[in-house]
Amino acid sequence: MSEIFSPHRLGLLIRNDAIADYRSLLIISATLAGIILILAMLSRGSSSENDYFYLLLYIGILLTWGPISSSRSFKELHDKTANEAYLLLPASTLEKMIARLLSVTVIFMGYLLVFMSLTSAVIESLNSLLFGKNNQWFHPLDVMEWSLFGHYLVIQSLYFLGAAWFRKTHFIKTTLAITIACIGLAVLTLVIVRFVLVPSFDDLELSIDSLYALYNGVIDVTEISLITLYFVGLPVLCWSVAWLRVRETQVSDGV
């Protein structure tokens, strides 16, 4: 059996995580179902926006629960009493990383689709029975837009890296790091645009149309590379760095 990757060991790791985490998953799911029940009953059939009630909830939960789960992907790694057992679990670092990555991406997204479908079916049946009015049920096919999952993977990858990188308060530190990076990037872009492209500005009539034309010109040239960088390059980079970080981790307790 390969020392680097074995589907059998990967399956065992996912099962190991499932056995360890299913109780907390059930508790969180039950809590969410309760909150959704209250919201759904309060807003039942009140406006046309209710057609998107569950779709918006799905997106909201995906983009909050997902990053929070991702930022806890390597919680044992930074726990002095738990990291030994995790690091000594007979599987390669790559397998351990992929197992956690699958848990917070494919498995999580799939679970959320099933959860929302079942929850909406039960709650809206109740709404119909009790009040005679209901929101539109959640249809998994409505969210089958690749850009949503693409954006989720990008966001998730950042929090996944944060989980491996930071020792404590992974979610908060990653959020702060992303905010600072975004501000830094914005300032850098402003400086580049202002000083590097300054000759272009001299003769430029600044109007919404001209800015839009400039924007389109720039985007046309670099669109494909930017999209590739965002949807593929960034997640792959984050996952790779996370893997390297886990591979180099040592138990940190002293003598």
Partner: protein, 284 residues
């Protein structure tokens, strides 16, 4: 086999091991002894890849432990001193973890758990420290791992369990296995550990079998203090009701070895013991 050559390791600027060498052979239960901070736990962590050496060679079962390859990890079991069990039942734990160990024996596990009289189907987090230790020890022995490392295994065990622990460890050892017991509680592992490895000031000060020890030194207990200048006296100390002493005696027959006394004697006279066992050191 575990082979260490010219190993260096430091915590920050503090050097812990400097050009350390040690070879551990299968079929033995090694007792790893040392003062607080001597590096016993660190050495175990280096052997398992939980820490990386800064220099030197460390080979565990023909693997580089720092790579943490599954082939090695499936042949290792480590019982740490600090226990952190997940919030799942014992049966869930076994169902989740046992498949990672190809030689895992469920029948042995059931027998060990029965011998330790452990409650079943309980959440591991609800067990007492001693019960957790017994459970993990049973699991570790049932793994049939080639290298079993136990860090302070008798801490938290009740008095009957300590005797049971000694018996189960002795029964479980096969010719292909290496057991390493790191402990301060030498009386708990008396008559179990052999050879004895003593770490002191970053080096392996002592690595000999009890047979080698008894062929070179003799221990005595008497009511009066031995003459400090007596020929062959290596160490003496007051004990309850008298004095204990360690003597250099090449004609000594096999006799009981007081591990605590031996340890204190070696730590007090490292140079004398180095020369005393020079011949054996060359052999090993």
């Amino acid at each position: 086999m575990i082979e260490i050559k010219e190993l260096c390791f430091s915590y920050g600027r503090k050097n812990l091991f400097q050009d350390m060498g040690l070879t551990l052979q299968p079929g033995n239960i090694y007792g790893l002894l040392g003062l607080n901070g001597a590096g016993k736990s660190t050495l175990l962590k280096l052997m398992t890849g939980l820490l990386f050496p800064t220099k030197g060679t460390l080979i565990t079962l023909e693997y580089d432990p720092a790579k943490r390859e599954p082939g090695l990890l499936s042949k290792l079991f480590v019982l740490p001193e600090e226990l952190n069990t997940p919030g799942i039942t014992d049966q869930e734990y076994v169902r989740a973890r046992a498949p990672f160990y190809p030689n895992f024996d469920h029948e042995s596990l059931a027998r060990y758990l029965q011998e330790f009289d452990l409650p079943r189907e309980r959440k591991l987090t609800t067990l007492s420290y001693g019960q957790k230790k017994k459970f993990l020890l049973s699991f570790g022995l049932a793994c049939n791992a080639s290298v079993v490392m136990l860090d302070e295994p008798t801490n938290g065990l009740d008095i009957p369990s300590k005797g049971l622990f000694r018996r189960l460890i002795a029964e479980a050892l096969s010719d292909q296995q290496i057991f390493i017991i790191s402990t301060h509680q030498v009386r708990d592992v008396d008559s179990l550990i052999d050879p004895i490895v003593i770490l002191h000031e970053g080096t392996v000060l002592f690595n000999y079998t009890l047979a080698q020890v008894t062929s070179q030194v003799r221990m005595s207990h008497g009511v009066s203090r031995p003459d400090g200048n007596a020929d062959g006296l290596l160490y003496s100390e007051p004990t309850v009701g008298g004095f204990s002493a360690v003597w250099k005696d090449e004609s000594a027959a096999d006799g009981p070895v007081d591990l605590e006394l031996l340890f204190k004697s070696v730590i007090a006279n490292p140079e004398i013991y180095s020369s005393l066992f020079e011949a054996e050191r060359a052999d090993t």
